[in-house]
């Protein structure tokens, strides 16, 4: 069985990022899963046992004195060192995050390998690995067969469910000499505050999004209230982000996050084609808008023409009653 490397991202505090679970689950389907990390030398806590619990057979700890103060290059060097250490690597899996993609891009150039970006699934067909991607907001499904090796695949966050069987991971710690390539310096790093009571937008089964129709930042609270009644993540259209109602990290659409939830509720969103590109693969779409001609109604399974501020509070009350 060939080896599959996974690039595990860590937070400034040294905790593994949630996408590790998805990467190792995907890796276990196609080969022997190996977790690769670029870290500063020292005590790494229980990272190894955590990664073993998520299915890593091996954990490759590449230690660099400047792992947390240089951008991207330490991760590229760590993967290159792991490739040299493990024979017959078929695939290298990274998260389709800003950091994961950039690492993948630089590594692909350095080692001369192919690259599949934003894959939503990875399967094995007739013994060859197939990466599945979704193009133009889900209008097209594309399958790419991966030949030779190693090939790098960046997996969309929240796209792969399930987890690999736990394993007692073997650790290999190496001191890596950084490549000669100049890296940008990181002067400070802050994680955005996360609302732990709500699910993550990228992997939520229900998403409630608000648009320009909310009218103000204060009134955007209505979106949050419905989201909490449904146990949903909060999203927004670009118009709402541009108007300053919510940060860009919540933007759903062509230039934001692409979501595929079971239920997508669009509040006061007209349905510009660029927004549809980020949510039209949702299983069920509900839209509420005061404009009966809004294009969002063309793709909504259940559409309500009406005033958000009357319909939504009534719906929240009714949901609470029906749930009890």
């Amino acid at each position: 069985m060939s080896n599959t490397l996974t690039l595990i991202e860590v937070s400034p505090a040294g905790a593994i990022r949630p996408s590790a679970k998805m990467l190792l689950a995907a890796a276990a389907r196609i080969g022997n899963p190996i977790a690769v990390l670029a870290l500063t030398p020292g005590d790494h806590g229980d990272i190894v046992s955590q990664l073993g619990a998520l299915g890593a057979h091996h954990v490759f700890l590449a230690e660099f004195p400047q792992a947390d103060s240089l951008l991207t290059i330490p991760a590229v060097d760590a993967l290159a060192a792991a490739l040299a250490h493990f024979d017959s690597t078929g695939a290298i899996l990274v998260t389709n995050s800003v950091e994961g993609r950039e690492t993948a891009g630089r590594l692909a150039v350095r080692i001369g390998s192919g690259l599949v970006l934003d894959a939503i699934d990875i399967t094995v067909v007739n013994e060859s690995v197939v990466a599945h991607t979704s193009v133009f907001g889900g209008a097209f499904a594309v399958e790419s067969s991966i030949q030779g090796g190693p090939t790098i695949v960046a997996l969309r966050q929240g796209s792969i469910e399930g987890e690999a069987p736990a394993h007692a991971a073997e650790v290999k710690t190496v001191s890596v000499t950084s490549s000669e390539i100049r890296a940008a310096a990181i002067t400070s790093q802050t994680d955005a505050p996360t609302n732990s009571s709500r699910p993550d937008l990228r992997s939520a089964t229900t998403v409630v999004s608000g648009g320009r129709g909310l009218g103000s930042k204060a009134d955007f609270e209505l979106v949050e209230k419905l989201a909490d009644a449904l146990g949903a993540a909060v999203g927004a259209s670009r118009a709402a982000v541009d108007a300053g109602y919510v940060p860009h990290s919540l933007q759903v659409g062509q230039t934001g996050t692409i979501v595929t939830p079971q239920l997508y509720v669009a509040l006061g969103i007209s349905g510009a084609i660029q927004h549809l590109a980020g949510m039209q693969t949702a299983k069920v779409i509900v839209a509420i808008n005061k404009d009966a001609d809004a294009p969002i109604f063309d793709i909504a399974d259940f559409g309500i023409v009406g005033d958000l501020f009357a319909v939504v509070p009534q719906a929240i009350e009714a949901i609470k009653k029906l749930k009890n």
Binding site: A141, E143, S249, V305
Partner: protein
């Protein structure tokens, strides 16, 4: 300072976008092709440097003959010159080819800083700037929401999936910017007139001393094996609120086991 701006012509996101069902390659004939908004914003970042100091701004694209429209638009906005890599051997080029070709053109032209968008609206790969940086062996600072370009260095705030980072590097370097950066200026009438006299150079792979048979050899690769168009969604029930729509919505969600 010499600034190279990466420009891409893409299918208009307001129109129909399609893939060739046999090859999986972008169908450029199915809708209007326009300059990507993020390319205009990248040029705006460069032009603001030029507004305040001595700078030469070169716009670079790789694409079919029609991509010249995007370059003309950039010249009218205020870029000094344009480079167009145009070669039939590049039809359907992937990120491996594209980054190698663009890096070669940038190296030939010379640069202090390369500015591109964080991702295009068609491919959405978001890796070209980083790949170019690796080819050129310089730092890459991508997905910058704010950027400050100085005579010998660049710094900015980088938006990631988890938060933000403050980063900096000395030049030469490659950066990419997000749609949080300022909106692009419109070309003025004077700009349009001046653009006609500005140099626009077409480069073939031979001009770049690249051979398609040997320049793009890689060990592992992916080949498109299937392209399927998903059926379009259709409208379902649409009601007009008569004072009871909230309750009807709750009933719809409960009936569909969605709560």
């Amino acid at each position: 300072m010499k600034i190279v701006v990466l420009v891409k012509q893409v299918p208009d996101t307001w129109g129909e976008r399609s893939l060739d069902s046999a090859t999986g390659i972008l169908d450029r004939t199915s809708g209007d092709n326009v300059i990507d908004e993020i390319s205009e914003r990248s040029l705006e970042v460069a032009l603001r440097v030029k507004d305040d100091s001595e700078a030469e701004v070169v716009v670079l694209t790789m694409g079919p003959a029609s991509a010249v429209e995007a370059l003309r638009h950039c010249l009218a906005m205020g870029a000094d010159s344009a480079l167009h890599v145009l070669d039939d051997a590049l039809v359907g080029a992937d990120v491996t080819w594209t980054s190698a070709v663009l890096a070669k053109a940038i190296a030939q032209s010379g640069f202090d800083i390369v500015i591109g968008g964080n991702e295009s609206t068609d491919g959405r790969g978001g890796v070209i700037p980083a790949m170019i940086a690796e080819h050129l062996a310089v730092p890459s600072l991508t997905s910058l929401s704010t950027v400050k370009i100085m005579a010998d260095a660049v710094s900015g705030s980088r938006e990631t999936d988890y938060g933000s980072l403050n980063v900096n590097a000395s030049l030469p370097a490659v950066i990419s910017i997000t749609e949080q950066s300022p909106e692009a200026r419109f070309p003025s009438f004077k700009g349009l007139m001046k653009a006609k006299k500005k140099p626009l150079t077409v480069l073939s792979l031979a001009n770049l001393e690249m051979d398609p048979l040997t320049s793009f050899e890689i060990s592992g690769k992916s080949t498109i094996t299937a392209v399927t168009r998903r059926p379009a969604r259709t409208a379902g029930t649409k009601i007009i609120d008569d004072g009871n729509a909230g309750v009807q919505l709750a009933e719809f969600l409960v009936a569909g086991r969605l709560v």
